[in-house]
């Protein structure tokens, strides 16, 4: 704070500090409090974690190429499934969204930086340590955690030396998420440019405000749950130990009270991105802006009262099964509003299909498939058949890969000209899209079939009749993974080797509106030091 105050003293004398660029070398990235630098760091961190998590998924798919044990013993296979989930959720998707929020939210609402820039630096730099801890467990005696990302006791209490590292890593990730969420919420509540009322904010900012509240509410619950696991294992407590008067089912309640809002934390920012991209390439203002905000808020509210649909088979009272079944089905209503609005925005629009739009349209279609299989899983009686099968794996990968991940990819293609000042290669982008869209379905669609036929999840071996569909799935996974290098190449070229690439104008897409398109491309290191004027023309989505 002393440093800031010293700067404040200069305000009326000379304000050269406002115009200096970033520090040179590695220290720029270690010390930075700039939202654009931290956005970039978050996005690269996310890319590295997606690669590591992706490699684990390939190990899983390779082992499942045929029945019997091929490459890994079952213990290592379970470590891969557990760590794949933790790395993808907490290392890939969440930091990816935080990176996009860092870059875009201040520019969208017309402020110069996040409200708490040093907290922002701290929140990011916790993450490499958290994941170094988590990933280092592969090299410990007994290996990495293998009880599933849901860390249910009593199974997870059998974890060896890696257990305390797992708990500490989750605590660190939680601190990072909570600080990031508080930062985004405070920024949106306090730092909007004059005239940028809440119901004029771009939907990406809205999606992040709602996500931030979810994070603030549920990450401490996860921290509490894992702390109780820690004391159960090492300090003789019996929170979840039936022999000591505790209740292992209690853990499932607490975990999923965090876990279900977490699912929406993983998708709401994508909703915001898609709601930003579709109007641009349909050249029409978003259909039903206010209903989009209310739908996201409803989804967020409902996410707190549906958690036990993850536990239908554990043995909860019939009234509980009914309550959680109906509350879960209720989520289809606001979700339907959103899908309707996206389609209505495209209706009679002057559509063009640049890469971000291709990913956005695929999102609407493929996310809906995941939504429908979710509706099937919500039905308590039939969930007794689906539970713990590959049908569940197919369902949540449909909402997470063509949902959350396609949202991140669409956002990166959409905004990278603004970040770097050059256009990515459109042909390569389109090849990347079609490659991904085909192989992602080849990977995950057959998993519905083997799941319905009874193949359990989280096992390295399976009955011989599931072989064909598993082989199709494995081929799809390897080809999907390879295709992502097209994306990395396209993005790296924009970020590092800008020579010879087409320069991007300030308003990169002719149909794009919002404050971020009023600043030059690449966006200057400091934007909106003086609050911009909010015009009706730049907020066409809002009622005027």
């Amino acid at each position: 704070m002393a440093h800031d105050h010293a700067h404040d003293g200069h305000d009326h004398g000379h304000d050269d500090h406002a115009h200096h660029g970033p520090d040179k070398g590695i220290m720029r990235w270690i010390k930075t409090t700039n939202h654009k630098d931290l956005g970039t760091l978050y996005l690269w961190f996310s890319a590295i974690m997606f690669t590591i998590g992706g490699l684990m998924s390939l190990a899983i798919r390779a082992e499942l190429w045929q029945p019997g044990l091929q490459y890994f013993d079952p213990e290592l296979f379970n470590q891969f499934t557990t760590m794949h989930a933790l790395v993808m959720i907490f290392g890939g998707v969440m930091p990816g969204f935080v990176g996009l929020a860092n870059w875009m939210v201040p520019m969208m609402i017309g402020c110069s930086d996040l409200a708490l820039p040093r907290v922002n630096n701290w929140g990011f730099w916790i993450l490499p340590f958290a994941f170094a801890l988590l990933l280092s467990t592969f090299f410990l005696p007994g290996g990495a955690p293998a009880g599933g990302w849901t860390i249910y006791p009593p199974l997870v209490l059998q974890t060896g030396n890696s257990f305390p590292l797992l708990i500490f890593a989750i605590h660190l990730m939680g601190i990072s998420s909570i600080t990031g969420a508080i930062n985004v919420a405070v920024t949106i509540l306090n730092m909007r440019a004059p005239g940028m009322t809440l119901l004029k904010m771009p939907l990406f900012a809205w999606s992040w405000l709602i996500t931030a509240y979810l994070l603030i509410a549920v990450m401490p619950v996860l921290a509490g749950a894992v702390t109780m696991l820690l004391t159960d294992k090492y300090f003789g407590t019996s929170f979840f130990n039936a022999a000591g008067g505790g209740d292992p089912v209690m853990f499932e309640h607490i975990f999923w009270f965090f876990g279900h809002p977490e699912v929406y934390i993983l998708i709401l920012p994508s909703f915001g991105i898609i709601s930003t991209i579709i109007p641009t390439f349909a050249r029409k203002p978003l259909f039903g802006y206010a209903s989009m905000v209310y739908a996201m808020a409803s989804i967020a509210f409902l996410s707190f009262i549906v958690w036990a649909h993850h536990m239908f088979t554990v043995g909860i009272p019939l009234a509980g099964e009914l309550f959680f079944m109906f509350s879960t089905m209720l989520i289809a209503v606001p979700t339907g509003v959103k899908v309707f609005n996206w389609v209505a925005t495209m209706w009679q629009g002057s559509m063009t299909y640049e890469t971000p739009m291709l990913f956005a349209v695929a999102f609407v279609f493929l996310f809906s498939i995941g939504g429908f299989s979710g509706l099937m899983l919500a039905l308590a009686p039939v969930d007794f058949q689906y539970h713990n099968t590959y049908f569940v794996v197919a369902h949540f990968h449909y909402v997470l890969v063509p949902g959350a991940v396609f949202g991140i990819i669409a956002g990166v293609y959409y905004w990278i000209p603004k970040w770097t000042g050059v256009m990515y290669n459109e042909t390569l982008g389109k090849i990347h899209f079609w490659w991904s869209a085909v192989w992602i379905n080849v990977t995950f669609f057959p998993q519905h079939f083997v799941g319905l036929a009874g193949m359990p999840r989280r096992i390295p071996d399976y009955a011989v009749q599931f072989t064909d569909f598993n082989q199709i799935s494995t081929v799809g996974a390897f080809l999907f993974f390879i295709g992502q290098f097209l994306f990395f190449y396209n993005i790296l070229r924009c970020a590092l080797a800008r020579k010879g690439l087409k320069p991007a104008p300030a308003r990169v897409w002719e149909g794009a509106y919002g404050l971020e398109w009023t600043v030059p491309s690449p966006a200057p290191y400091h934007t909106f030091e003086d609050p911009p004027e909010i015009t009706d023309a730049e907020t066409p989505w809002a009622a005027h």
């Binding site: 704070m1 800031d4 105050h5 404040d8 305000d11 409200a115 708490l116 907290v119 909570i178 508080i182 930062n183 919420a185 405070v186 920024t187 509540l189 306090n190 730092m191 603030i216 509410a217 401490p220 619950v221 509490g224 209690m250 309640h253 607490i254 009270f257």
Partner: protein, 44 residues
């Protein structure tokens, strides 16, 4: 301020941001305490 000078606009905003952040933290804490309290008073 301790030295009697009025807060600059930037300092005032920094204080407001800190206050909002602490409030959000407090609300989260209250929510979590309420959740664990209600969970520890289940029937049966």
């Amino acid at each position: 301020m301790a030295d009697g000078k009025p807060l600059s606009q930037q300092q005032a905003l920094a204080r407001r941001n800190l206050r909002t952040a602490l409030w959000l933290g407090l609300v989260a804490l209250g929510f979590v305490v309420a959740f664990f309290w209600s969970m520890s008073h289940r029937g049966g």
